[in-house]
């Protein structure tokens, strides 16, 4: 599971460098997210612009990654591709996360 992370202005941006977050990699994704986000206090922006497909296991893993941050720390999503966005809308999980169309848009909004 390839993730790339950078920290800018108290925001931790985690970009998923994989085309799919599905049942085959859900646990790996959860573990990798934990490694990239543990011990910080920043808001996490999860950049999904490379991800073309998630299934319910992938969705569950993203929810788990958010819960792992603890109640004090937020996670925002950016760059949802069409099928990924549909999974969030259908399950109404788009109401739980802040969703931004691009990482730049998320950074601009969250810095304020």
């Amino acid at each position: 599971m390839q993730l790339s992370t950078k920290t800018e202005d108290q925001l931790r941006i985690v970009s998923v460098q994989e085309p799919r977050i599905d049942a085959a990699v859900a646990i790996e994704f959860k573990d990798a997210m934990r490694a990239e986000t543990d011990g910080g206090s920043e808001i996490v922006v999860l950049d999904l612009s490379e991800v073309q497909f998630i299934d319910s296991s992938g969705l569950g893993a993203i929810v788990a990654a958010m819960k792992n941050l603890g109640a004090e720390r937020r996670m925002a999503l950016a760059g949802l591709t069409p099928t990924v966005e549909r999974v969030f809308k259908l399950t109404r999980m788009d109401t739980v996360f802040s969703v931004f169309s691009t990482v730049d848009g998320a950074l601009k909004e969250l810095r304020n």
Binding site: R20, D22, A23, A24, F53, D55, S56, S57, L59, G60, A61, V63, A64, M66, K67, A71, P82, T83, R86, V87, L90, T91, R92, M93, T95, V96
Partner: protein
């Protein structure tokens, strides 16, 4: 514009961690001539991913004891009629789950991390029917894409 009907086809995979990706790639390749939209192919991929994940996880729960999964696809004027079969464990209640939408009206830390699969199948597919025939699970669904009626 009428869509030409695709000839019926079937694919088979043996259950494993990577079997679902393999099966989905094969099916989307077979459906290539239909030139489906991103939304249509997304619907097919999502529904079948959930169905196949359930088979790998629940019908054949032991990785050391895998089994065959067959997918039959019949394109008709009202969409793709799919039949998915396996010889694994039966559905617990002898019926396909209703797939209720999980409640999100809870504390952040209590948000559900699972239970979305059957909701997505029931929401996106039509005519979902499950039967246990001798030692075989047979799930039939229709996905209303590539319509010509």
């Amino acid at each position: 514009m009428a869509v030409a009907l695709l000839p019926p086809f079937e694919i088979s995979v043996q259950s494993s961690d990577m079997a679902v990706r393999d099966a989905l790639a094969q099916i989307l390749t077979e459906l290539g001539p239909l030139e489906l939209s991103v939304e249509e192919s997304g619907t097919i991929e999502l529904v079948l991913a959930e169905v196949l994940n359930n088979i790998v996880e629940h019908a054949y729960p032991e990785p050391d004891n895998p089994g065959d999964i067959h997918i039959y696809c019949n394109h008709r004027p009202d969409g793709l009629h799919l039949k998915i079969t396996d010889q694994g464990a039966a559905m617990p209640d002898g019926a396909a789950p209703l797939g209720k939408q999980a409640s999100l009206d809870v504390d952040l830390m209590d948000l559900p991390e699972g239970g979305f699969g059957w909701f997505l199948i029931q929401d996106l597919a039509k005519d979902v029917q499950y039967a246990r025939v001798e030692n075989e699970n047979q799930l039939t669904i229709r996905i209303a894409v590539a319509l010509s009626s």
